[in-house]
C-alpha cells in the first residue's frame, strides 16, 4: 500500500497504516504500553494518562492512545526513556491513591488490569498516608450491575460504551474533580440490554455483575469456548466452568459475528445466584392416565411402538405423524429428526418453533447478518426490531451508521433504531405490502424512500420475522430487490428471524417444503439425491407446520407428534390448536424440565440443556458454528441426538452412522455450508452462508 507510515518506536522501525494510534502501532510489534481508559473499540479519551510516551521534538509527554502516528515520528516508551518510566510510575501511584485495598474481596482480583499493570509498571510502594475517600458500596445501578465507587478510577470506559456503542447513555460522571463519581440520571437505572459489557470492560472491580458476585476466582475455572443459544446472532462466548457447573458466560471476540460484545439476555442466561429450576431426571410414561417414571428402554419402546402402530395402520397413510423442534435445537438434532420422520414415517410435517420462515429461501433472499451489515452503505429494515430480536446485530447497525452508512426504516417507526434512521415510513399489517410496492415504484421515479435507497450502491434489506410469513410482503420485497439491483447497485436481502437456529433448520431440511441442503421437496432430482444418501424413499407431498400442523391434529389427520425442546402449550394457542395437542393419540416430548406441553404428553423423555450438548448452530448470517459440551450431562439425562439415535435403532431405521462424527459426515454430504464448517474448532470457519 502506497500510503503506509514509517515510524520508529524504541529504536525499531515499523510500518503501519495512517490513522493508527501509537499505542496500537506499538502493540503490533509486541511493545506493551500501560493503559486503563483506552479500548480498541471506543474513541480514545486519554483521561487515565498512563500511556504517556516520549516523542522527539515534542516538549511534553503525550498520550499514545490518542495520538495518531506521523511519518518519521520517533517514539520512546519505558524501555528507552527514564522520563516515561517515572511518569508511568507516578500515574499509577496517583490511580492507587484513593483505590481501596479491596483485592481479597474484589471480584476482579486475578483478572484485574490494575493489579497486573501495577505489578508490571507501577512504583513499588505508595507514599500516601492520608485517609482515602469513602462511598457507600456496592450500589446497584440496574438489575444486573453493581458499582463500587471507591474502586472506580474514572476511566470512563463504561460511560463511553453506553453512549457510543450501545447508544443507551444511562450512566455518566456526576460532579467534578475530586468529588466525581459514576451515577445514573436521577431516578434512572442502567437497564440497557448491554449493561453486562460495562462490567467486562471495567479495568477494575468497580462495575461487577450481581449474578457472579463472590462466586469464584479466575484460577478456579476452565474457559470453554462455545456459542450463545439465546438468539440467532450466534455470539461466540466462553463459558467459565468449575467442577461441572457453569459460573458465567463471557465474550469471545469474533469480528464476523459480534465485536466482543454480548447482550444481557445471553450473558445473564447463566445466573448462579438464582436457584436452578428442577430438572427432569427420569423418563415418564402415561399409564392409566398418570405420568409414571420408567426406565429409558421402557420409554423408548413405548414411544416407538406407538408411532409405528399409527404409521403402519391399514393404508399406510402419509403424514400422520409430525415433529416440532424448539428454537435452540442444534443442526444435528434437526437433521436426524427430519430424517427419521421422513424415512420411517413418510412424513414431511416438520415444524420449527422459532421462525424458520421459508422466505429465507425465496428468490433473492439469503442469510444476512454481521458481514453484510459491515459491507452495506444503505440498510433498509422492514417490520423488524433488531434491538429485541437480534441485539448484537442492533449494535452492529449502530456501528455502521456511526461510520457513515444510511439507515431507512419501514414499518414500526417507534423502534429504537428509528432515531438513527435518515428515512422512516410508518406502515403496518396490510399496509406494509402496499408501502413496499410504492417504494419499488419510487426507485425508477427517484422519489421518496425509493430515491433514498437507490442512491446507495451496497444495499441490505432485512425483513422482520412476522412480515416474512406474509406472502404478499415477500413478493413485494422480491420486486423491490429486483428494482434496486440495477445500475451497479448490489442488494443483499434476508430475514431477521430471532429463533436461534432458524437458518439451520431450513438448511437441515427441517421444513415441510425443503430437504437438507435447500432442496425443494417437489424437485424430483433433488429428492433423488437425498433418497440416495438415506437409502429410503421420501414422500413428495409438502407437509404441514406451525398452526396448520396443530389444527390438522385437531381434526385427527395428524395422530402423533414428537416435540423436541419446544413448549407450544405455554404460548397463547387458539382453541383449535390446543385441541390438536389434546387429541393426539401419541405425544412424545423431550424436555429438560416439566413444562405445560410435557404435562399433556404420553411419553416424556429428559433431555440435556444446551450447555450439556455438542453440535452446531447456524446463525442469522448463515454461519455454521460448532461447539462442544461445556458441562457433562446431568445423571439420567440424554442429549437429543442420543435419544433420536436410540429411537431410530428401536424403530429399525437403517442408521449405520450413529456417532456425532459419522452424523456430521453424512450431513456434510448433503449441505455445503455445513461441510465448510468442518474445521474441527469452535465457531471459527471464515465463511458466512453467502460465500458459495
Amino acid at each position: 500500500m502506497a500510503d503506509m507510515i514509517t515510524l520508529t518506536i524504541d529504536g525499531r522501525e515499523i510500518v503501519v497504516p495512517p490513522g493508527t494510534k501509537i499505542i496500537e502501532a506499538a502493540g503490533s510489534v509486541g511493545i506493551e504500553i500501560p493503559r486503563f481508559c483506552y479500548h480498541p473499540k471506543l474513541t480514545p479519551v486519554a483521561v487515565c494518562r498512563c500511556c504517556l510516551v516520549e516523542v522527539e521534538k515534542v516538549p511534553k509527554l503525550i498520550p499514545a492512545c490518542a495520538t495518531p502516528v506521523s511519518a518519521g515520528m520517533v517514539v520512546r516508551t519505558r524501555a528507552t526513556s527514564e522520563k516515561v518510566r517515572k511518569a508511568q510510575q507516578g500515574m499509577i501511584e496517583f490511580l492507587l491513591i484513593n483505590h481501596p485495598l479491596d483485592c481479597p474481596v474484589c471480584d476482579k482480583g486475578g483478572e484485574c488490569p490494575l493489579q497486573d499493570q501495577t505489578l508490571a509498571y507501577g512504583p513499588g510502594g505508595t507514599r500516601f498516608a492520608e485517609k482515602k475517600y469513602h462511598f457507600k458500596k456496592p450500589v446497584p445501578l440496574g438489575p444486573h450491575i453493581l458499582i463500587d465507587r471507591e474502586r472506580c478510577i474514572l476511566c470512563l470506559r463504561c460511560v463511553q460504551f453506553q453512549r457510543e456503542i450501545a447508544r443507551h447513555p444511562q450512566i455518566s460522571v456526576t460532579y467534578r474533580g475530586r468529588d466525581s463519581f459514576i451515577d445514573t440520571a436521577p431516578g434512572g437505572t442502567l437497564d440497557s440490554n448491554f449493561s453486562g459489557n460495562t462490567a467486562e470492560i471495567c479495568p477494575v472491580g468497580a462495575l461487577t455483575s450481581r449474578h457472579y458476585r463472590f462466586r469464584a476466582r479466575p484460577w478456579e475455572y476452565e474457559r470453554k469456548p462455545s456459542v450463545c443459544p439465546e438468539c440467532a446472532c450466534g455470539c461466540n462466548v466462553y463459558t467459565h466452568v468449575r467442577n461441572g457447573e457453569i459460573l458465567r458466560v463471557a465474550s469471545r471476540e469474533n469480528p464476523l459475528v459480534d465485536d466482543g460484545w454480548l447482550c444481557d439476555r445471553g450473558r445473564f442466561s447463566v445466573r448462579p445466584d438464582e436457584p436452578a429450576l428442577p430438572r427432569l431426571t427420569t423418563p415418564l410414561v402415561r399409564i392409566n392416565g398418570k405420568l409414571m417414571p420408567v426406565s429409558w428402554d421402557g420409554a423408548l419402546e413405548f414411544a416407538t411402538s406407538a408411532f409405528r402402530k399409527i404409521a403402519q395402520a391399514p393404508g399406510r397413510p402419509e403424514g400422520v405423524v409430525g415433529a416440532i423442534a424448539g428454537p435452540s435445537a442444534t443442526n444435528e438434532e434437526l437433521y436426524l429428526l427430519g430424517r427419521i420422520l421422513r424415512t420411517s414415517y413418510s412424513s414431511n410435517n416438520l415444524s420449527f418453533d422459532g421462525g424458520a420462515s421459508s422466505a429465507l429461501r425465496s428468490a433473492g433472499f439469503a442469510p444476512v447478518g454481521t458481514p453484510d451489515i459491515d459491507w452495506a452503505d444503505t440498510i433498509l429494515l422492514i417490520a423488524s426490531d433488531p434491538s429485541r430480536d437480534l441485539p448484537i446485530l442492533d449494535l452492529r447497525i449502530k456501528k455502521t451508521v456511526r461510520k457513515g452508512a444510511r439507515l431507512a426504516i419501514l414499518g414500526d417507526t417507534s423502534i429504537e433504531l428509528a432515531s438513527l434512521a435518515a428515512s422512516t415510513i410508518q406502515a403496518a399489517g396490510t399496509d406494509l405490502a402496499r408501502a413496499i410496492e410504492e417504494i419499488a415504484r419510487n426507485v425508477p421515479a427517484q422519489t421518496g424512500q425509493g430515491a433514498f435507497l437507490s442512491s446507495g450502491k451496497r444495499i441490505v434489506v432485512a425483513l422482520g420475522e412476522t412480515a416474512s410469513r406474509d406472502k404478499a410482503v415477500v413478493s413485494e420485497v422480491g420486486k423491490l430487490i429486483a428494482a434496486l439491483s440495477k445500475d451497479g447497485r448490489e442488494v443483499r436481502a434476508g430475514v431477521f428471524a430471532g429463533g436461534t437456529n432458524a437458518a439451520g433448520a431450513i438448511e437441515m431440511g427441517f421444513h415441510p417444503e425443503y430437504l437438507p441442503g435447500l432442496r425443494r421437496i417437489d424437485d424430483v432430482r433433488a429428492r433423488a439425491q437425498v433418497e440416495a444418501v438415506w437409502s429410503a424413499s421420501i414422500a413428495a407431498k409438502a407437509g404441514l407446520a406451525g398452526s396448520s400442523l396443530l389444527c390438522s391434529a385437531a381434526h385427527g389427520e395428524v395422530k402423533a407428534l414428537y416435540i423436541m425442546g419446544a413448549d407450544p402449550a405455554s404460548r397463547s394457542l387458539t382453541p383449535e390448536e390446543r385441541e390438536g395437542l389434546k387429541r393426539l393419540e401419541c405425544l412424545v416430548v423431550t424436555t429438560d424440565r416439566m413444562t405445560k406441553t410435557a404435562e399433556m404428553a404420553h411419553v416424556v423423555l429428559p433431555s440435556a440443556v444446551f450447555w450439556e450438548k455438542a453440535g452446531s448452530l447456524t446463525n442469522v448470517a448463515g454461519r455454521v458454528q460448532r461447539f462442544e459440551a461445556a458441562v457433562p450431562p446431568q445423571a439420567g439425562v440424554k442429549s437429543d441426538v442420543e435419544i433420536l439415535v436410540a429411537l431410530a435403532k428401536a424403530g429399525c431405521l437403517p442408521l449405520s452412522k450413529e456417532t456425532p462424527a459419522d452424523l456430521a459426515d453424512e450431513i456434510a454430504r448433503l449441505s455445503a455450508p455445513y461441510a465448510r464448517s468442518f474445521s474441527g474448532r469452535t465457531g471459527t470457519p471464515a465463511m458466512s452462508g453467502r460465500e458459495g
Binding site: 481479597p104 482480583g109 485517609k131 476466582r217
Partner: protein, 182 residues
C-alpha cells in the same frame, strides 16, 4: 590384633547403654515444639469475635496441592460473620492432601488461616480428614466485663481531654460536631 578395636567399640556402646537417654516418653512426656511449627490449621477471629476470614480464596490459590475449598458469600448486617462485605460460607481443608507447607498462612491477608501446634490428628476413617469450617474455626466466647477501677475521676461533660485533642483528624472533627450539636 583387631580385638583392641573391638573392645574400644564395645566400650563406647556400653558407655551410652548406661548413660543418659534422649528418648522422650511419649505420651506421658511431650516434646516442646518451636513457635512456628506447622501443624493443624485453625481459622482465627478478631478480638471482637468476628471471623478474620473474608473468603478471598488466596489460601486456596496459593496451596500447592489444592486441598482448600472456599465458597464466599455476602455478609448482611443481620447475618454478619466477618467485618466488611465478604466471608467464607464454606471453608474446607482436606488434611490428608495437605502437606503443611504453610503457604496458605503466608498468603492470607487477614491472618485468618494459621497452622498451630496440634499434630495428633490420627483418625480411623478417611472421611474424618475433611476439615470443615466448623472444625477449623477458633472457638470464641464474649469477654467477661471488667469492673471499672474505683479511682477514675469523672471528666466534666463537654470538654474533650487533652489527649483527645491530639488524636486522629476524624475523632477531632467528630468531637467538634458533637460540640456543635450541643
Amino acid at each position: 590384633m583387631f580385638l583392641i578395636e573391638l573392645f574400644r567399640g564395645m566400650g563406647i556402646t556400653l558407655k551410652h547403654f548406661f548413660g543418659k537417654t534422649i528418648t522422650i516418653q511419649y505420651p506421658e512426656q511431650r516434646r516442646v515444639l518451636y513457635d512456628r511449627t506447622r501443624w493443624r490449621h485453625i481459622l482465627r477471629r478478631h478480638e471482637n469475635g468476628l471471623e478474620r476470614c473474608i473468603g478471598c480464596s488466596l489460601c486456596a490459590g496459593s496451596c500447592p496441592v489444592h486441598c482448600i475449598r472456599v465458597v464466599a458469600a455476602e455478609n448482611t448486617d443481620a447475618d454478619r460473620h466477618s467485618p466488611g462485605e465478604r466471608y467464607a460460607k464454606t471453608y474446607e481443608i482436606n488434611i490428608l492432601r495437605c502437606i503443611f507447607c504453610g503457604y496458605c498462612q503466608d498468603a492470607c491477608p487477614t491472618g485468618a488461616i494459621v497452622l498451630r501446634k496440634d499434630f495428633e490428628l490420627a483418625r480411623d476413617h478417611r472421611s474424618k480428614f475433611l476439615y470443615t469450617k466448623e472444625m477449623l474455626l477458633e472457638p470464641w466466647s464474649p469477654p467477661q466485663p471488667v469492673p471499672a477501677p474505683a479511682e477514675v475521676v469523672a471528666e466534666p461533660a463537654g470538654r474533650p481531654s487533652i489527649g483527645a485533642l491530639r488524636g486522629p483528624l476524624d475523632s477531632r472533627v467528630a468531637m467538634f460536631c458533637r460540640q456543635e450539636a450541643r
